[in-house]
Subunit: 331 residues, 2 copies
């Protein structure tokens, strides 16, 4: 008998099981005296309401899935942490679905969530297959997507386009003419959007942009991309990096392999403002994204969807703020 049941508490308190149930149910009608007796008996026996049985009745649990690939890397780590913290504060139970690369694993995890009657799922990254959305839809599973324009779900978007345009503008205003951008081959929607918006804005201003890609969007990719930019062709004097990690890799190559100085020879702007951007070695000018703010929006969308399940899909926007440091001082 590992767990105490309400029946046993009732017996010890000398009341019916209903009284116990009502004591632990918000807004139920119990006399203060019985309530007291029940609480005392529960304390003595170490009783905890069985949320599973509760969930069976309500046909819903308080689990919220958080889907992320590589949740330990860069900005995503901060977003994951902020989101789980916000969910806990809300009284939900954050389930971190750290899916490997395989689609199969993701679907298995989703089935687990549905099997546990999860309340909702938040998607931080990756590009789930269509079947994922279909399955969620079919089981009335609310979805919140962060950083991706998915029309079938509530979403929180960063102002990627606006920020990237601003990057191009401040580069041009500061007199830079040989522009470049570092993106990624396996571009997530956010990364691709930043790259494209920067290029478009530069073209609109009448300047060409060299484009470099690494395999991914991490430090090593930044290294590879920077090598291709500086090893051949006209060397850029200003580089916009689709995220901070790419920028760090590029900076290290620019300084150590090509002996150039930042920002005198090359200026850089990154994206995300992870804590490393403030480290003395980098001091990277970058667009700040506040993970707590994004998480708060996501939770808000969850609340709203729960109250009005049939409301049309909503979209929240969080606008990144350019933080000036030494890698680009502005004009």
């Amino acid at each position: 008998m590992r767990f105490v049941s309400a029946e046993q508490v009732a017996q010890l308190a000398g009341v019916s099981r209903s009284a116990v149930s009502r004591t632990f149910t918000e807004g139920a009608s119990v006399a203060p005296a019985t309530r007291e007796k029940v609480l005392k008996a529960a304390e003595e026996l170490g009783y905890h309401v069985n949320d599973l049985a509760r969930g069976v009745l309500a046909n819903q649990s308080r689990l919220v899935g958080v889907v992320a690939t590589k949740p330990e890397i860069g900005f995503r780590a901060h977003l994951t942490a902020a989101l789980t913290k916000a969910l806990i504060r809300r009284g939900s139970i954050p389930v971190l679905i750290n899916t490997g690369e395989t689609e199969e694993e993701l679907l298995a995890a989703q089935k687990m969530l549905i099997g546990h009657r999860a309340e909702a799922t938040v998607i931080l990254s990756g590009s789930p297959p269509a079947s994922f959305f279909e399955l969620a839809q079919r089981n009335g599973q609310p979805l919140v997507v962060i950083g991706r324009a998915e029309p079938d779900a509530d979403r929180v978007l960063a102002g990627n386009a606006e920020a990237s345009r601003e990057a191009a503008e401040v580069f041009v205003a500061a007199g830079h003419r040989r522009l470049a951008v570092i993106g990624s081959h396996s571009a997530t929607p956010s990364i691709a959007e930043r790259e494209n918006a920067f290029v478009a804005a530069a073209h609109a201003a009448g300047f060409d942009v060299r484009i470099a890609h690494g395999r991914d969007s991490d430090y090593d990719s930044g290294i590879i991309a920077a090598r291709t930019l500086f090893a051949e062709g006209q060397r850029p004097d200003a580089i916009f990096c689709a995220n901070d990690l790419l920028a760090f890799g590029a900076m290290d190559v620019i300084r150590q392999e090509f002996g150039l100085t930042i920002p005198e020879d090359v200026a850089l702007i990154g994206f995300d403002d992870v804590p490393e951007a403030a480290w003395l070695s980098y001091s990277l000018t970058t667009f700040r994204q506040d993970p707590a703010a994004i998480a708060a929006r996501a939770v808000m969308l969850l609340d709203r969807r729960q109250q009005n399940p049939d409301e049309p899909r909503a979209c929240e926007r969080v606008i990144p703020q350019l933080v000036f440091r030494k890698s680009f001082a502005g004009s």
Copy 2:
């Protein structure tokens, strides 16, 4: 009617509900023909077994709590990710309890886990109060603690003492005499153990050690600690840092504020081998801890505990490996 029940599947398939149940129960006896019919009907209706109800029967769910403060920082981010991945692969449901600093929040989260009849809890960091262990004990909640010598739980320990001793030995063998160590005021057990073991080993070899502390065990603390080491007193020529983040902060201060070179003027060894340690700017010699290996041990302990609940507490050790990079080349 948001979810399909087994009853409906049974009706469509023309069998009893028991047959449906047995189809989805491992090792139950069903005729291949009925099984087929049931699966087809389930597919058509989009049926998923209600894991909540299943859990009520078994009095256990497949939730596993993962308790961590600041799971986005440094090595802990990698450990969290590795652990959640391993748990998912095992068929468990990782619940990330990202507790703020308050003890109250932690206990609330623990009660949620117990309420959901979680299978076990893994503790990555922080120092839960005694009431935490007591509550877990009382509810038969298996506990795995990582990186902390908690006698009331199964545990996975890194070889902090062995590695730190090795650090002292290789420094001495390479001819360094002015040793220092950077630890932390708010020392987690691991950090404190590394510091103490290094000091003890140095003393044993006949050398004194300067000790510096920041407030925490992050980059900023490394900066502060390095400033106190180099601003006054005899400057060290070899520093052991209790983790990589501290080392990065120290390196940046040593180079940029004091104009010294690494490793010529000062050699450094870190701990953890987070990816940043391999970045060109740092190239930090450090002790590698494999998050996947630690996670695997933790999961193994979980499995073992589940099979033999009354076995004595076990302790697994993972030995860190010294990885040489440029910050200290060895002798």
